[in-house]
Amino acid sequence: MKKLGSQTVKFENPPSIIGTATIVGPKEGQGRFKDYYDLILKDSIYQEKSWEKAETKILKEAVEMAIKNSKIPTSKVEYFIAGDLLNQIISAGFAARELGLPFLGIYGACSTIAQGAILGSMIIDGGFAENLVAAVSSHFCTAERQFRFPLELGNQRKPTSQWTVTGAGAMVLSSNIQNPRITHATVGKVIDMGEADPNDMGTAMAPAAVDTIIRHFQDTGKTPDDYDLILTGDLGSIGKDIAEDLLKQKGYDISSKYSDCGVLIFYPEQDVHAGASGCACAAVVTCGYVYKEMLKGKYNKVLLVATGALLSTTSSQQGETIPCIAHAISIENL
């Protein structure tokens, strides 16, 4: 059996990440990982007529770049698994129209990259494909107009609010054996701790991350010491703080090797309040910084716990609380 415990999968032939690519907007390009991105846009409209078109374009180009970096021909890529934040995941669907690859559209809000990596790894380890690409995108301007207010509205953002990352990340997964590889995956449950403020998603998502992390350790029998780096997706500074405390209460002290993509992407002086968020948040850090540092051997065992808030503007306006999810993948140099 490839299943461990109740929610974790241990891949028999761990799929390899044979190539990645990341594209980010100008603001992200001034952030902490500026040296790790494949392309930094000069402006976030990217010579397109709308923000949505720009998002589709960066997703498509990130996928093409990742395939190129993986050094396999596009004809050998069997699936394109992707998602984004927009209604009916249009960025992914429209990018798939351009790419002409068999397409599986998925939605897991900001956890989508982990969801795609898990599904992709299962497809490969299951023997249903040799190579495939998992990708996500998000764009500050498309997300703002869909979830919040017009860009030019002179309102104040709350200290708890997070900044949607403009960018796209793609990874090519393959049955070819090379490092780094995806060894385990823990599929999270939807956790709702009664938070309803869409401007404070870190607080809402932290319990989901904690639940998945503990489940991962229990299912695999691993401890925090088995990892060099444990990275949550986009909890931001407040959510990260909460997650660390909750884990400590439950007997897992991960503080020495724990960080959050949402906290890392921007420098504090970039004034994004609680940090970054968006599908691209976990994706550009994983496909950029983490992947490249794993190739160099700085990290050998990384646990990525991508988090997502499964709300919509309709659910928020109707007073619903925010259901949250977190999926974990172990990426290891074997």
Partner: protein, 150 residues
Amino acid sequence: MPIITKEQQEYKNFAKSKRPKPPLLKNMIMAFIVGGIICTIGQFVLSFFISRGLTPGQAGGPTSIVMIFIGAFLTGIGVYDKIGKYAGAGSVVPITGFANSIVSPAMEFKREGFVFGVASKMFIVAGPVLVYGITSATLIGLIYYLLKLL
């Protein structure tokens, strides 16, 4: 509203202790200064019209028009949202803020066309203000009228 369990309530209290407080005093001071500056500019415009021969009653209309133009113009060139970031209510409450709340969605949704974009989305922010503003003004006017009849 969904029912909150005991566990959720405990989490709510725990999370509350972690949440940073908005810088209320700083926000209030900034709102006071910027709101004050906008109103002072309005007063200059009003005084200008009065000096050119309008009565204070007549000068109100053109002053509003000028202030709305300034608000709309600053929104159009992408400055008003930057003022709003620091000023908060100080730039939302004056009539320039009202102009910003109409011009910004009109700009944002232009790509969805002039009918379903600009025209239908123009009032997504200002709409509630108009609906409840006009409704409450009418109701209070009615009450005032009825009281005078007594």
